[in-house]
């Protein structure tokens, strides 16, 4: 049994109330947007790559939705700095859960993984492996 307030430990509330790297990025190398259609959570991620065209130099995001989705995006925006596109694409669900540091109840996993999926789809689209207008978590 995962309890609600366990899910809302200080770290998540902190990132929700004071999101890191929040805002649009004028000189982004690429940007990508995603949505949880059922919840209405949205995340738009802006990624600036270094000169090697592979290492993340800076990430920012804007979004709207529940604390889990927005805190995940904020945490992820810190995590992604310095990663390669390949490494981003290799992340999985557990990485997000580890990052959040709490167990996420099954019905809320969609909220938690939205930002990660947006980053991964964004990276895949940028290197030409995928064609997609918008990421959704319902599949």
């Amino acid at each position: 049994m995962v309890s609600g307030s366990d899910m809302y430990r200080q770290q998540i509330l902190d990132h929700y109330k004071n999101p890191r790297n929040y805002g649009e990025l004028d000189d982004a190398t690429f940007e990508h947007v995603g949505e949880n259609p059922m919840c209405g959570d949205t995340i738009k991620l802006f990624v600036k790559l270094a000169e090697d065209d592979d290492t993340v130099e800076y990430v920012s995001f804007i979004g709207d939705g529940c604390a889990i989705s927005q805190a995940s995006a904020s945490l992820l925006s810190e995590e992604l700095q310095g990663m390669s596109l390949e490494a981003i694409r290799e992340m999985d669900r557990d990485d997000i859960v580890d990052m959040l540091g709490v167990e996420i109840s099954p019905m809320r996993v969609k909220c938690a993984v939205l930002a990660e999926k947006v980053a991964q789809d964004g990276a895949a689209i940028y290197v030409g492996d995928k064609e997609l207008d918008e990421t959704t978590t319902e599949e």
């Binding site: 309890s3 609600g4 899910m7 919840c39 939705g65 529940c66 604390a67 909220c111």
Partner: protein
Amino acid sequence: MGVQSEALDARALREDFPVLDREFDGTPLVYLDNAATSQTPERVVESITDYYYSYNANVHRGIHNLSQEASIAYEEAHDTVGEFVGTDKREEIIFTKNTTEAMNLVAYAWGLNELGPGDEVVLTEMEHHASLVTWQQIAKRTGAECKYIPITEDGYLDMDAAKELITDDTAMVSVVHASNTLGTVNPVRELGEIAHDHGAYIFVDGAQSVPHRPVDVKELGCDFFAFSGHKMCGPTGSGVLYGKEHVLEAMEPYLYGGDMILKVTFEDSEWNELPWKFEAGTPSIVQGIALAEACEYLNEVGLDRIHRHTRELARYACEELTATDDVEVYGPPADDRGPLVAFNVDSVHAHDLASIVNDTGVAIRAGDHCTQPLHDVLGATASARASFYLYNTKDEVDALVEAVDDARQLFA
């Protein structure tokens, strides 16, 4: 039937519902998601086991004892359910798996055949997806057009707009009787009169009204009426389509197969009589029987009393929740609403709210409650919703309000 003037005793009724004894880590369950699915009283569950342990068999076709018993119980269940909503004609009660299927039955059997370019289906902005999506898609396939009666600031239907939208081009008016999001109870009788003046049919979605108030389809004058068993102490997989006999008579079948036919040759088939013409294949026998049991249970408790009780809980919840001004409640004023309250707390997203109150055992819904376009109109992506039934108490409303306050503190 007992005297219905006195208030019902929710605490005593809770004894009928074993699930209400559940605890989570020592915290008792406070079940406030009844508009989604209600809990099931012991006697309804027993009617299911009784069927399986004593007379499980296929219906309509057997000569043997068990099949006869099952057939009689299943067929008589139609009568009980029919009387529950005001018809004594078995022909007018079709068992479906839920409201959604009842809606689709009419949309396919009548809509696909009768609608075409120039025809209009008039709905409301507060329709559940069950009717909204169904008519929207049937309209696309037939070239008909959907129009939506707007809602007023305080969550009522704009009846002046309704009178303008319903015209001689209208073929069907499909309206929700009681809104599952706003708690509004719509004037379906008046809408039916307007529809009939223009030669249109009216379909009333009674999923949220039948569980909570006495309903008489004849008095409402509607052509079609649908509701779901699982929202009225019945089992999942049980639903009902009521249709006026002559209207159903003129309709093509929806599903083909066994049981819905009288005579079959390699070349052609003749349809069975009503209501069986619309119940193809082996039906949900035990669900139908258990739904009838649920109707009897509700009759004994008394629909008038349930109505007063759940309205009072909604009124109280509205008042308590809006005692702080960071809460927005959607729909009509506290003293004029159905048995539910959809709301948002400024600083807390509805999903977070539902997660946090769940921690104290309080079960509410968060999301768009299958009314996405309505939420667009309300300017909210989601809302939290507490919905009440006969076994809920004011203490449980207090538990909700307290839990909401916990969430507010957490996010402050």
